[in-house]
């Protein structure tokens, strides 16, 4: 039994978008040092769950609580949640025209440094930091000069998300279908990055459809989400069972 401190507590969470209730009484507890996988059929509310934790303005929380390291974050802006240590790797990372990846990454890094009252880095100092992280996800420095996600392949976009996760060193990372659309080599690279990044002070939520990722990144818990609720929780074996039997079996 892991008795590390709780990093995330979600209590009776209900949330909607466009007056459409998606999350219906969701409960979850995550402790430091844990990896949780959330699986579930399309439309069960997995992506909504990740956006609500990150504070996307399109979603409204109707009731319930989200506690991050013991304090309620529901009234915080997305950037404040990011500063506190919540990271979301997007399912569909968006292209940002005219902004180089290097500038973007440095600005994100320095925003966090500033929040932590640490010195901000100039481009040369930053290059040293980022160069080291690039190797962890097997990316060439050339890609720093390209615009954020512009013209990136699906795999490059996902690797860029993992790079940002490693760079910002957040305590809680939510990976929304980071594995989908990846070939086996890219999946290995990304899994490797995640495993090197993970330690006892952090927690990761993997949202995925496939058991495949979980062979490389071993979760402590697997949850099944359906209709805005977690309907079953188990160990890694639950994922294998789902792969064989599908979700219908749980009904």
């Amino acid at each position: 039994m892991n008795l590390n401190p709780l990093i995330l507590e979600i209590k009776n969470l209900k949330a909607q978008i466009n007056e459409n209730e998606i999350l219906k009484d969701l409960n979850l507890e995550i402790r430091k040092g844990e990896i949780h996988a959330i699986m579930g059929p399309n439309g069960s509310g997995k992506s909504t769950f990740s956006k609500v934790i990150a504070g996307h303005p399109a979603y409204q929380v109707l009731s319930g609580e989200i506690l991050f390291k013991g304090s309620n974050i529901l009234n915080l802006d997305p950037e404040e949640r990011a500063h506190l240590g919540i990271f979301l790797a997007f399912q569909y990372p968006i292209e940002i025209p005219g902004v180089s990846n290097e500038d973007f990454l440095r600005l994100a890094y320095n925003s966090k440094q500033k929040f932590l009252n640490k010195p901000e880095l100039d481009p040369i100092e930053f290059f040293r930091v980022i160069n080291e992280k690039l190797q962890l996800v097997d990316m060439s420095p050339v890609f720093l000069s390209r615009n954020v996600n512009e013209g990136f392949s699906g795999g490059e976009k996902k690797r860029n998300e993992i790079l940002q996760m490693i760079l910002l060193d957040s305590e809680l990372s939510i990976l929304d279908e980071t594995d989908s659309g990846l070939d086996i080599d890219a999946l290995k690279i990304i899994s490797n990055g995640i495993n090197k990044f993970m330690n006892q002070d952090k927690a990761i939520i993997l949202i995925t459809h496939y058991q495949r990722l979980l062979e490389y990144v071993r979760p402590n818990f697997v949850h099944v989400m359906q209709d805005g609720k977690i309907i079953k929780t188990g160990g890694p074996d639950l994922a294998k069972e789902l792969e064989l039997k599908g979700y219908e079996w749980l009904k």
């Binding site: 303005p57 802006d77 005219g98 994100a108 925003s111």
Partner: protein
């Protein structure tokens, strides 16, 4: 995207973009003003007040006659109520009791006004490497560094003074690039223009200073009709910048300027504009109607004219800085950033007319539309049958901020010989909710995020501005796009 978040996004961006207009104050000053309305006797009166030679009065009257026969162009993507030309004052000047001998005699209110605008005219504080001609309503108030420039043979003065001091140059070049009847607004300007700047760079001289004119509309009912003429003789070089602001009034004011550039053999003219006229309020009331004709003639071979504009102001912008590439191996360039917000409408672009052999032109246009504004690029590239080996490259990029703004691109290309090489690239991108959320999720504030996107988008154009003003342009855009976001 859902409506609720749409609303949040739009209000965030609106707050960000709606910085109060810093230059909206007006100056109380004793004025020499004539009755509103336009007719032949008004034109004679203006000419008389300015003690003009006969050729200029004739120029004006001929233009007025043409203008009366013409119709206001309707092809622009612009919607505005009809302008009542009889309701405009065509001459308004601060009262000056006697001829000024030095800046010390300029009304301190005027000096203060320009001081407040960040344009210092006094000896101690003026920019050390920029000569400024300050135009207030209808007349030029002061021109700095005149003597210093004269040592190099460079003439830089108000066009009214130039009419008296160098009538032969004015008569030769005025209307030589933009003919009187070229278009409705150039005809109007030719009839009633009151002041503007004149620059003459003699043969083999590289102008030692940046030249700059600062236009200020102050009076509520007057229009501003300035005329700028720049002549660069063989092997000469000049860089010129114009800036403009106006007070905040709830009626629309008309600004119809004409700028003519003449580059002789091997000459190089760089003309930059930072336009910040009052845009009107957030409901679209007030603001300047900006109808401007700017054209450069590359008359001599190997000459080059480069236009750079940063257009952030005005309720309506109608402006197409153009190059007539007549000499062989001449080069025309147009770099533009046009930012529109709220109910602003901009229809702007360039014309490149290739006549000479091996002529080259380059158009880089960046349109940014926010709020419910409308931003249109309109371009015309014409390669005549004589322009053997001509080349053009055009790039038009539009950036939409929010979901209610509008961008159009109308490139028109006409090629009459097979040796020409034309390239056209266009793109449209959007700063929407998802991009902003991406920035926020990475801990970057909305202001920083938008600033980064805008400056990245405009970089190609800003690098073309004279160094002294690149920072100013960056600041101006940031000013318009920064603010506290709740």
């Amino acid at each position: 995207m859902n409506n609720q978040s749409n609303k949040i996004l739009n209000s965030n961006i609106t707050k960000l973009v709606n910085q109060p207009y810093k230059y909206g104050f007006s100056t109380v000053i004793e004025k020499d003003i004539i009755e509103k309305g336009l007719n032949e006797s008004i034109i004679r009166l203006i000419s008389k007040k300015k003690k003009e030679p006969k050729f200029l009065l004739e120029f004006r009257l001929k233009a007025y006659k043409k203008w009366k026969e013409m119709k206001s162009p309707e092809w622009g993507q612009l919607k505005f109520s009809e302008i009542n030309y009889q309701n405009i004052i065509y001459y308004s000047a601060p009262k000056i009791k006697k001829k000024l001998n030095s800046l010390d005699e300029v009304d301190p209110e005027l000096l203060k006004t320009f001081e407040k605008l960040g344009i210092s005219l006094t000896e101690q504080k003026r920019l050390t490497n920029v000569a400024v001609d300050a135009v207030f309503d209808s007349v030029s108030i002061a021109t700095t560094f005149k003597e210093e420039l004269a040592e190099h043979g460079v003439i830089f003065s108000s066009i009214s003074e130039a009419v008296h001091d160098y009538p032969e140059l004015i008569e030769k070049y005025l209307g030589s690039v933009v003919p009187i009847g070229d278009n409705y607004f150039s005809a109007l300007n030719s009839a009633v223009f009151t002041d503007g700047s004149f620059c003459f760079i003699p043969k083999d001289v590289k102008c030692p200073l940046e030249l700059s004119t600062y236009f200020r509309i102050n009076d509520q009912k007057s229009g501003q009709f300035e005329r700028t003429l720049i002549v660069a003789e063989k092997n000469s070089q000049v860089s010129y910048l114009e800036g403009c602001t106006a007070p905040q009034y709830d009626n629309n004011q008309l600004h119809a300027a004409v700028v003519e550039l003449v580059a002789l053999e091997n000459a190089d003219i760089k003309y930059s504009t930072v336009q910040n006229w009052y845009t009107g309020n957030e409901y679209g009331q007030g603001g300047i109607y900006n109808f401007v004709t700017k054209r450069g003639l590359c008359a001599g071979s190997n000459s080059k004219i480069s236009w750079t504009q940063v257009e952030t102001g005005s309720n309506i912008t109608w402006k197409y800085p153009s190059c007539l590439l007549v000499g062989n191996k001449t080069k025309g360039e147009f770099y533009s950033v046009a930012l529109t917000n709220n109910y602003q409408q901009a229809d702007t672009g360039s014309k490149m007319i290739h006549v000479g052999k091996k002529t080259r032109s380059r158009i880089v246009s960046k349109g940014i539309s926010a709020g419910t504004s409308k931003n249109t690029y309109r371009g015309f590239v014409n390669i005549s049958n004589k322009a053997i080996g001509a080349r053009n490259y055009s790039q038009c990029d539009s950036l939409l901020i929010g979901n209610l703004s509008n961008a159009n691109t109308f490139p028109f290309i006409s090629v009459q010989n097979p040796t020409a090489r034309i390239e056209h690239e266009a793109s449209t991108s959007k700063i929407g909710e998802e991009q902003i959320f991406y920035f926020l999720q990475r801990g970057i504030s909305i202001e920083k995020g938008i600033e980064l996107m805008i400056s990245g988008f405009c970089r190609q154009v800003f690098t073309e501005l004279p160094l002294e003003f690149a920072a100013e342009a960056d600041r101006l855009l940031t000013l318009k796009l920064e603010g506290s976001v709740g």
